[in-house]
Each structure stands twice: as structure tokens, then as C-alpha cells.
């Protein structure tokens, strides 16, 4: 891009590349320089750690209700008290404990949904990209059909039909959110499939499943991870939306979306009831999205601007 001649130092650096700089190490270096990735990863790490350690660090049982201690405000408000750092909800349950356990539900839904949808989507995308032709036409048609369906509407309808529960939400979302996986893996596979090493693998008589598993999949993993993080955030938001509408996770499970819905009636006079889970949700989704963006940047440096 520049027509200034390389300086001596640059030339030296080019001549003697740093010894043993593996691609992994380079990736790590790029990652450590990427602010968004660090912030997102950091927040996510904290949330995951708190969710995993919830039984150890939660000050109270998230389900234990005590009606005589309901609607205690958080500590920073006048009537707050340190027994209930984030206050209590309308049934006198500790808000902090519910928030911590709620993180588990959100993360569980995010992860399992992405596992299900990722498997479906990747399978379809790889098949479409690798085989091409009629297989591609059929699978692309299915993807297009799926893209034409508004996710929330279908999720609402199926939740209304089969009833609402934690498992129900995960299955419905898992069966709905595979479209981006399919689209991305399809094009990535098409790019990879033309590669020499694929031709080489074919030439030495590699079977198709083995070819896909050990040659194609590892090479499209990077975009897949990026899609997975974005879809995880998507799933968590959708769960919150469904639970808010009463068609997702059912009480007394402490889902953040449900907590927001339950806090709705106190919006005018006790805004913290709705603000706390909402802020938590914003942070989680923001962190996952930052992480996803960052991963895209560092794994595909050639696309960076």
C-alpha cells in the first residue's frame, strides 16, 4: 500500500522472522491486542464463572420465598440492606441469587441451542457446499424457506402449541436458529472445496465422510465459531423475549427474561426490579457479541480493515 521503501529494521524483521512463532501464538498475540475481544471475553468469563459458582456464591436459595421480606430495595437505596445486596422481588426472593441462577439458565439455553442448531446448520451447509448441484438446490431451498419464517412468530406459535418449558424453549430455538450456520458453512465449504489439499485427499482415496470431517470442517471452523457466538447471543435474547411474553421458561425458574416480565408491574415506582436483570442481559449479550466480532477479526486478519 505504501511506496516508501522498507526500512532496515523492517527488512531485518523480514529476513529473520521470530523463531517458532506458531499460528496459534500469532493468534494469541493478535487477540491480546484486540480491545473488543478482551472486554467481551472478560465480561463473559466473569458471567460464566459466576453462573458456574452460583451454588457457592449465591447468598440465598433463589427459590426460597419469604413474603414478609418482599420488595426490599438494593443496598444503594435508602431502605436497602446488606443481607439482600440487590434487594428482593415481589415474593421476597433474593434478587442477587436469582440473577446468578438466571445466568445459568441463559447460558444453558445459549449453549445447548447453538449445539443443536449448529449441528443441523453445519451439516446442511457442508453438504450443500461440498456436493453442490441438486443437493445444493434442495438444501438452499430449505434454507430460503426457513429464512422466510419470522423466528419470534414461529417460536411463539410452537411454544403455544407444545406448551412452555425450559426444554421446550431450547428445542424450539435449536430447531429454528440453524439458518446462519447453513448459509455460512455452505459458502465457506465452497471456498475450501476447491483447494489443492482437498484434491490431494481425494487422490489418495479419502472417503467422503473422512474428507468432510478431517479436511473441510477444521478449515471452516473459524467462521463457524463466529456464527456460533452470534447465534448464542441471539438465542439468549429470544429466550428472554419468549419468557417475557410468558411463553418461555416458566416460573419459578429464575430466567432473566422472566425477571424482567415480573418486574414490569413495578416499573413506575421501583424501576430497579426491571433495571437489574435488564442490565445483566445487556452485558451478557454485548459481551458475547464483542467476543464474536473480535474472534472474526483475529481469526481472519486478512478481512480486517
Amino acid at each position: 500500500m505504501t511506496d516508501i521503501a522498507p526500512s532496515a529494521a523492517d527488512a531485518a524483521a523480514l529476513d529473520t522472522p521470530p523463531p517458532r512463532r506458531s499460528p496459534g501464538l500469532a493468534l494469541l498475540r493478535r487477540s491480546l491486542r484486540h480491545g473488543g475481544l478482551l472486554v467481551g471475553g472478560g465480561i463473559l468469563f466473569i458471567i460464566v464463572a459466576m453462573a458456574l459458582a452460583a451454588p457457592l456464591i449465591a447468598p440465598h436459595d433463589p427459590y426460597a420465598q419469604d413474603l414478609s421480606r418482599r420488595m426490599i430495595p438494593p443496598v444503594w437505596q435508602v431502605k436497602g440492606n446488606w443481607d439482600y445486596i440487590l434487594g428482593t422481588d415481589k415474593l421476597g426472593r433474593d434478587y442477587l441469587s436469582r440473577l446468578l441462577y438466571g445466568a445459568r439458565i441463559s447460558l444453558l439455553i445459549g449453549t445447548v441451542t447453538v449445539l443443536i442448531s449448529g449441528t443441523i446448520g453445519t451439516l446442511m451447509g457442508v453438504c450443500a457446499g461440498y456436493f453442490g448441484g441438486k443437493v445444493d438446490a434442495v438444501l438452499s431451498y430449505i434454507v430460503t424457506t426457513r429464512l422466510a419464517l419470522p423466528v419470534v412468530l414461529v417460536a411463539l406459535a410452537s411454544a403455544a402449541l407444545v406448551g412452555s418449558s425450559l426444554h421446550g424453549v431450547i428445542i424450539v430455538l435449536g430447531l429454528l436458529l440453524w439458518d446462519r450456520f447453513a448459509v455460512v458453512t455452505r459458502s465457506a465449504t465452497q471456498q475450501v472445496a476447491g483447494g489443492d489439499y482437498i484434491a490431494a485427499a481425494k487422490a489418495i482415496g479419502c472417503s467422503t465422510p473422512r474428507l468432510i470431517l478431517s479436511e473441510i470442517l477444521p478449515n471452516i471452523l473459524n467462521p463457524l465459531i463466529v456464527v456460533a457466538t452470534l447465534e448464542m447471543a441471539h438465542a439468549i435474547l429470544l429466550e428472554a423475549a419468549l419468557s417475557f411474553l410468558g411463553l418461555g421458561v416458566q416460573p419459578p425458574l429464575p430466567s432473566w427474561g422472566l425477571m424482567i416480565a415480573e418486574g414490569k408491574q413495578y416499573m413506575f415506582f421501583s424501576p430497579w426490579v426491571i433495571a437489574i436483570p435488564a442490565v445483566a442481559l445487556v452485558f451478557l449479550v454485548l459481551a458475547i457479541n464483542l467476543l464474536g466480532d473480535g474472534l472474526r477479526d483475529v481469526t481472519a486478519p486478512e478481512n480486517r480493515n
Binding site: L67, R70, V78, L91, P252, Q265, F268, F269, P271
Partner: protein
């Protein structure tokens, strides 16, 4: 953050002021009282719905034969100028002359006879059969004389005639039929219906020809508009911005906070509504097999801290109920009815004895006051019963329950404001569609009680029936409801204990 709350209230107040011009659509300025509620009657015909909103419309649009004065407890003439019992199964009434329906037709003995005979016909499909099932037939025995034949002796007849039994116009109803009547009902009451839009609400207008001397008085407000607003937060927001003038069932927390809002008045009053858990003791619904065991039902009753719910959630004069009726109803008593005190340890023990030491999972259905239902679910969870809360619209849930698909139903019943225990027990234990218990012995007892004329014997039979309900824990009575009313302070409105707002007695200040 400490100031966040006060900031927010200021912002909200500013928003409220900014939206204030919208209030020109309602209120004193154009003589229209807009009231909001969260449920709408599926049919505004008073015999074809069993929701409170329908009862309110019925009292404004129709007249009763007899008027029950809640202040004195006496029955006064309304459409019937006088009535006499010729024997315990025959009631003669004289019908008032000079009363006209909203369409100008005179109200005569023929209309009374027609209404009663029509309501008792099975093909009329009256929703709450208990309200009319005591009537055998009616006949005209003179120009303005009507004779009602009863199925059997029924001392509470006068109370029903002053409540759910309202008079329809024969000629008009025969012309338009049930569907037409639901769209444009005509009565003789203080307000006439001008529009019915399902899903939106009902508009009413003052009946300027309302007959003089009615115990209901002369209506003052020019127009009434019932608006369906299912979401309680929207109701509060609409009230604060002047979109509606009157709301009720405001949760105790908000009511307390609304008191501090200028231009609003807040009123709390106990009502006849009783909340109770209906348990599928027959085990008809999928997954409700454990409920067949009386020990499980008793465990559920012991698991719930009803006192804590009354003191902290319901408040406003609500009382704990031990019997399956409203305690001030005639015939309702909790004497001899077992008390199920809050005792989770005992509940767990009972569950273990019944063979469920680790509890079980069950579906739980509710249709209003979601937080009360959630509190109950929380208490059940504490003894190991994992109740999955399903929150539904009332009409749909009622059909589900009638089809035998509801294991635990968080029910509430306000007895159509009838101050007689039969209006409660008759609706839930007499073998009708809503009866999930269907205990033949109980049904028989109630049939006897309903038709016993001699007061002491009648009270005794109810006592026995209620004891049977209690011992078997067929239902878990929770508490009476209190309702918080919040309304514009331009309105002079007073609440009555029967959960029946009487806008025909309200005035602008």
C-alpha cells in the same frame, strides 16, 4: 443511583403532563367515565357469561325484580312492587307499571314470564346454572301478576332475584335471538348500551327515561365506557395520563404508590371474591393421579402460608378463609371445618405417607393475580411439588377445566354478589360442569341445604357439607380478596363490599 428513582418519577410526571391533553377524550370535560378492566365478558348477555365485568354491565343495563339494600340488609321493591310466598315453592309477584325498555317497549308481566322460562330451558345454555336452576317455571296469573314455581323450597330465591336474575325484553329478544342480543342488548336499566366491540369494550349512555323512584336512583354520569385493557401496567399508565378515569384490582404495592400521585384517589375494600385452589380429586386430568389421595390434598393445604399472603400480598382488608365460601354469606361457616395451618414439615410428612417422599411434578393453571399464583407455586415447591404454572385467559381455561384437563386450578369466585352460601357451593360442588370434585354425597347434601326452608336445619346442612369439603380438602380456600380502586379525583365514587362498582350512583365532583 440513589437519585435515579426520584429522577425517574420526575421524568414520568413530565411525561404524564405532556400526555395530559389526551385526557380530553375522557373524564368530566365530556361527561364520559372510562373504566378499564382486564377481562371482558365473552357475551354481554348477563346469563351467558360468568365474569365480574359482565355482572357490572348487567347491573347498569338491566333491572332486577327485587332490590337488595346492602346498607339495611332489606329487600326493597324494584320491578316487582310486592311479592308474597303462597307456599315454600310458589312466589307471587306484582310487576311495576310504567317501566319501559330502552327501545320504548313497555316492560310487562309477559317479559318477566318469558325471561324466567327462557333462562331455565336447557337449550338456553345459561352459563351459571345455579343462578336459575331453582326455578321450575313462571306463569302470568293476572294483568300485572306473575307466579314463579320453584323446583323445591329455596329460601335464597329473593337474593337471586335481586342479583343475577335480570329481566329481558321478550319481543326484542325473540326478534334478534341470542347472538343479536349479545351485539346490541336492550334492558330497562339506568344505562343503555350504544356499542359492543369484542376485544375492545362496551359503550353505554345514560337512560334519560329511567323510571322515577327506582332504588338504584337517577343516573348522573352522561356516558360510560368500559375498555378492555388486559395489561395492568397499561391500565396504570392510562390512568396516570388520563386515558381512563377508573381502574381496579390494582396490586397493593402500586395502590400505595398511586396514592401519592396528584389527581388520583385510591380506595381499598374487601370483596366477596374468594381465592381457592381447585384440586382434581378425581384424577381426571393427565398427571393428577397424586391428587386422588386425600393426604396429598391435605399436604397442599398445609404447604401454603395463607396468612403471609394475606398480610403481604393481598392486604386491604382481605381475610383468611377456611371454608369453601365467603364467610359473610348466609349459610357459610367455618365451624367444625378443619384448619390447615401453615406447616411445611407436616405437609412433607403427609406427602411421604401418601408415597411421594420426593414430591411430584404437576401442571398448575391460573388466570388472574399472577403473583398470588406464583406465591402458591413457590410454597408447593418448598415441599417438593414442582408445579408448572400455566397462565391463561379465563374463557379458555374454563373450557380446559370443564374438559377435565386441569389438575390444579387457581380459582376465584365472587358468587355473583349473592349473599348466600348456595351461590358459592352450588357453583363448584353440585355436580355441574365446573365441579371437579363430583362427590355424590356432597352434591346431595348441598341439594338438601339449598332447598331447606327451616333456617337452623339449613345452616346445619351447609355446615355439614362444608365440613365434608374441608376434611377431604377438595379445594384449598385461601382468602377473600380486597380490591384497590384508583380513579380520577374528579369522580365521587364509593365502593361496596360486593365487588360491584355502581357507576349509576357515581357523580362528577
Amino acid at each position: 443511583m440513589a437519585h435515579f428513582k426520584s429522577h425517574l418519577s420526575r421524568v414520568l410526571a413530565a411525561l404524564a403532563l405532556a400526555a395530559a391533553p389526551a385526557s380530553a377524550f375522557a373524564g368530566k370535560a365530556n361527561d364520559t367515565l372510562t373504566y378499564a378492566s382486564d377481562v371482558e365478558p365473552e357475551n354481554v348477555g348477563p346469563y351467558h357469561n360468568n365474569v365480574r365485568e359482565g355482572v357490572i354491565i348487567a347491573r347498569h343495563v338491566f333491572d332486577n325484580l327485587i332490590f337488595h339494600d346492602l346498607k339495611t340488609g332489606k329487600y326493597e321493591p324494584q320491578l316487582a312492587t310486592e311479592w308474597t310466598w303462597t307456599d315454600p315453592q310458589t312466589l307471587d309477584l306484582t310487576i311495576r307499571k310504567g317501566v319501559t325498555f330502552h327501545n320504548g317497549d313497555p316492560l310487562t308481566a309477559d317479559d318477566v314470564v318469558f325471561t324466567l322460562n327462557w333462562a331455565v330451558k336447557p337449550e338456553s345454555k345459561v352459563v351459571t346454572k345455579q343462578n336459575v336452576a331453582w326455578i321450575k317455571s313462571a306463569e302470568k296469573i293476572g294483568d300485572d301478576k306473575v307466579r314463579i314455581h320453584l323446583v323445591g323450597p329455596f329460601p335464597a330465591a329473593i337474593e337471586y332475584l335481586s342479583g343475577p336474575v335480570v329481566i329481558y325484553p321478550k319481543a326484542y329478544f325473540e326478534k334478534v335471538g341470542l347472538d343479536g342480543f349479545a351485539k346490541a342488548p336492550i334492558g330497562s336499566g339506568p344505562y343503555k348500551v350504544t356499542s359492543v366491540v369484542p376485544g375492545k369494550g362496551v359503550k353505554m349512555e345514560k337512560n334519560t327515561n329511567y323510571w322515577k323512584g327506582s332504588p338504584l336512583g337517577t343516573p348522573s354520569l352522561g356516558k360510560l365506557e368500559f375498555r378492555l385493557i388486559p395489561d395492568p401496567e397499561t391500565q396504570v399508565a392510562e390512568l396516570m395520563t388520563g386515558g381512563v378515569d377508573w381502574i381496579w384490582r390494582v396490586p397493593a404495592d402500586q395502590a400505595k404508590q398511586l396514592e401519592s400521585v396528584p389527581n388520583l384517589s385510591v380506595l381499598a375494600a374487601e370483596t366477596m371474591r374468594v381465592g381457592f385452589l381447585q384440586l382434581d380429586a378425581q384424577g381426571r386430568a393427565p398427571g393428577s393421579a397424586p391428587l386422588k389421595d386425600v393426604r396429598v390434598r391435605q399436604a397442599i393445604a398445609h404447604a401454603i402460608d395463607r396468612k403471609a399472603m394475606v398480610d403481604n400480598l393481598v392486604r386491604g382488608g382481605a381475610r383468611l378463609m377456611n371454608s369453601a365460601c365467603f364467610i359473610d354469606q348466609f349459610g357459610c361457616t367455618d365451624k367444625g371445618v378443619p384448619r390447615y395451618d401453615y406447616d411445611p414439615a407436616k405437609a412433607k410428612k403427609l406427602l411421604a405417607e401418601a408415597g411421594y417422599p420426593d414430591g411430584f411434578a404437576i401442571e398448575f393453571y391460573a388466570y388472574r393475580e399472577r403473583e398470588y399464583a406464583e406465591a402458591v407455586v413457590g410454597y408447593l415447591r418448598a415441599i417438593g411439588i414442582k408445579a408448572n404454572l400455566n397462565y391463561m385467559k379465563y374463557a379458555a381455561l374454563r373450557e380446559l377445566a370443564r374438559a377435565g384437563k386441569v389438575p390444579i386450578f387457581y380459582q376465584t369466585w365472587a358468587s355473583f354478589s349473592v349473599a348466600d352460601a348456595s351461590a358459592f357451593t352450588g357453583a363448584w360442588f353440585k355436580g355441574d360442569e365446573d365441579d371437579l370434585t363430583r362427590d355424590p354425597k356432597l352434591t346431595q347434601l348441598l341439594k338438601t341445604a339449598d332447598t331447606t326452608v327451616e333456617t337452623d336445619a339449613r345452616l346445619k346442612t351447609y355446615e355439614e357439607a362444608l365440613k365434608l369439603v374441608g376434611e377431604n380438602a377438595y379445594v384449598v380456600p385461601l382468602f377473600s380478596y380486597s380490591t384497590n380502586y384508583a380513579f380520577t379525583n374528579e369522580l365521587s365514587f364509593s365502593a361496596q363490599p360486593d365487588e360491584l362498582p355502581r357507576f349509576f350512583q357515581a357523580k362528577w365532583k
